[in-house]
Point group: C2
């Protein structure tokens, strides 16, 4: 059966590997005009601080700021927004925040030490970062759930000060975003955005303290600015379009699976939704569901283009082959909609988040299950992890050598240092060796 | 007392903060000529694979390769080198490797799960990366200890394949480096270097498998290439010049402390050695020791320039102030050469590695104490950690919702999704809500 809604592939066909590569192909385009604009903004903010931030904010966000004070949002504005939003939204945000906090507390890492027989002590000390900046997009892409997902892990880690930047184009701010900031415990808010906000966080200004790490999604200017300040400060990953891969045995309601695929597709035209199933009739049924449900969606144009251009229904021989294909894709979101899904966990090697069982829609994880929704995209789950508490803690090695330990280690170090031609290293070690 | 060997500062002076900023100022220079050369090399290797690798290797390393086979080093070459090196070196490498492995095993992270009352299960699954590339410089900067420090954490993490690249300029290889690769359990070695080696690891070629992460130090071309492929693969930090900060109460032998400072200074002219002490006479004594010991060092020209241009002896009022200054600097290496040094650990917030006590020379940690010698430089200890097993593991979130859990979470997710205008998300969640 051919459908214009979504492409069909068969994992047993001879050219499947090539087809899969073509399906997955996506590359962020480096835009040298954007990079040049961003470099100029960074340089101006670094050199002129608040004055440059005010100029760019007035120009790009159509505002009339005259002093830096005006882009510093008072904390009372956050609590006021929290009181203003509907009770149902407030409760939902609070429940989501509680669950996210509780899950992330499991990620806290503890310092450790051990002592060797000769009295030498080795260990690792964990400390939180001091200051973290969270970028929150303005306008339509302003998601309160992202505020929770970025700020809560930092606060759980023990970060002293979480600074949020959110642009207020035409002086408009989103009450749900401010309410989420209140709930998440954000320490300060600046109503600025774009590369100028990233620059202010990375270098500091008269009104904005320099941070150690910048996290959170943004447009192409924000992404380019984060890439440019990487090294000066830490950054989170630069995200590509969002993706979902569903593995289904054919026994979940096809409407459910179709809507799961569409929940990814409605994000943007480049989002990718893929279903793997050994059941051809089920793939047919999901194709029908997709067409039917698409027509009902407010964001149907975006979702239809995503499904048509980047989506796929792929027939596999069995669940084992589906997992092989999934490991090759290393999806951001993986739904395993089968009986006894936990049996497959040991075979799943690369995925940002794994949603097990027919009731575990990705959307539950996006908002409130507890785990983070900031996940590695575009196959980077091969080497990256969800955003977590560990992203806001860092480690220091601890070494204490007893005189006996130093004697033993000094001899080894001396030999190795001389092998590398580093005499001061060797002599520094030898001072700690006991005379024979 | 003025000394031409090293500058003296006083933390109580009014302009100390400005002086300290000037002392620490260091910025990696982006060189657009280097970046353009690297971009061309990356593009050529990506497009033409082995053929381009061979061409660049012959040109830059003065070799006469005709086939890719010739840059693939047989594993027997590693064991042959291990047998060829002096027994003392072999034993020292083996002892160091054993201690490094044993320390890093403490860093292994384990998967975890927990079940909620309604049957919902949340967790985090840890998996090793599949393939990791290690860059080892050729020629004089070829350090066997770096092979151990980069490869062992990857093998402890459970990485399937560790691929090492090391250039062989004029067909020369360092036996100690090959022996260290044998001991560390490196899986394959390619005798190539420069941006062409980074490109081959990042994109793969006919003979070289694409890796998930590239670690290890290199020259400016290697650093630029790593920065350019960041995102396509993971990379470790791009290191700046190495630094040591020593805090001493004045009761350690000044020759010992001077040699510790010199062991950093002998690395290169931009390395930075700083001593903080409340004891002015001790600072004088160390200045004298520095002058005396410098004269005895084979690498005295490098070390003298480093000490003169970037070194400092800083008088502080007490150890507490020394730690304040240290936290501001966030040094790569911190020696705390005092009585009962462990009492100060809770106050030490930012440092790559902390060396406690008079017998714990940094050189012991550089080679064989156990912790890694790949550490965050230039103040990046504010947000970065030593290289470790955690750099080669990644996490996947696990979510299993029971029907009861999905019912509860679906309601929250639906409210939040509708607040963000994402209807497919809301409906996907609502399918999992039980009908009232």
């Amino acid at each position: 059966m051919m459908s214009k809604t979504i492409r069909r592939l068969d994992a047993s066909s001879r050219d499947f590997s090539t087809q899969l590569d073509a399906l997955l192909a996506w590359e962020s385009v480096a835009d040298s005009a954007v990079e040049a604009t961003v470099a100029e903004i960074l340089q101006q903010v670094r050199a002129r601080g608040d004055a440059a931030v005010i100029e760019y904010t007035n120009r790009f966000d159509r505002r009339q700021l005259t002093t830096a004070r005006e882009f510093c949002l008072d904390k009372s504005a956050l609590t006021a927004a929290l009181e203003r939003i509907p009770a149902e939204s407030r409760q939902a945000l609070q429940s989501a925040a509680d669950r996210v906090r509780s899950y992330h507390e499991h990620q806290l890492q503890a310092s450790w030490q051990y002592q060797e027989e000769d009295g030498t002590v080795l260990g690792q000390q964990i400390s939180p970062m001091e200051r973290v900046g969270i970028y929150v997009p303005g306008g339509k892409a302003s998601y309160p759930s992202s505020v929770l997902m970025n700020a809560i892990p930092a606060k759980v880690a023990g970060v002293d000060c979480v600074s949020m930047v959110v642009p207020a184009p035409d002086d408009q701010l989103n009450d749900l975003v401010l309410a989420a900031a209140a709930i998440a415990g954000v320490d300060e808010v600046f109503t600025i955005g774009g590369a100028q906000a990233v620059a202010a966080l990375a270098y500091g200004s008269e009104s904005i303290g320099r941070v150690d790490k910048i996290v959170g999604p943004g447009n192409i200017f924000v992404a380019a600015a984060k890439r440019a300040v990487f090294g000066q400060v830490a950054i989170d990953m630069i995200a590509g379009p969002s993706e979902i891969l569903v593995i289904c045995d054919g026994k979940t309601d096809p409407d459910w699976i179709a809507m799961d695929l569409l929940s990814q597709a409605e994000h943007d035209e480049q989002a990718q939704s893929i279903l793997l199933s050994p059941n051809a009739a089920f793939l047919d049924a999901v194709a029908v569901s997709l067409e039917k449900l698409l027509a009902e969606l407010p964001r149907r144009e975006i979702a239809a283009q995503s499904i048509r251009e980047r989506g796929a229904l792929i027939q596999v021989s069995d669940i084992a082959q589906a997992i092989e294909v999934s490991n090759r894709i290393a999806p951001e979101h993986l739904e395993v909609s089968v009986d006894a899904p936990e049996q497959y966990l040991p075979q799943i090697r690369h995925a940002g988040a794994i949603f097990l069982g027919r009731h575990t829609a990705e959307a539950l994880g996006d908002y409130c299950a507890g785990p983070n929704h900031v996940l590695p995209t575009s196959g980077t789950a091969r080497f990256s992890s969800p955003l977590g508490v560990y992203d806001f803690q860092k480690r220091s090695s601890i070494i204490f050598c007893s005189p006996e330990g130093a004697d033993k280690l000094g001899r080894i170090a001396s030999t190795l240092a001389r092998g590398e031609g580093l005499d001061a290293h060797a002599r520094s070690a030898e001072y700690r060796v006991a005379e024979d």
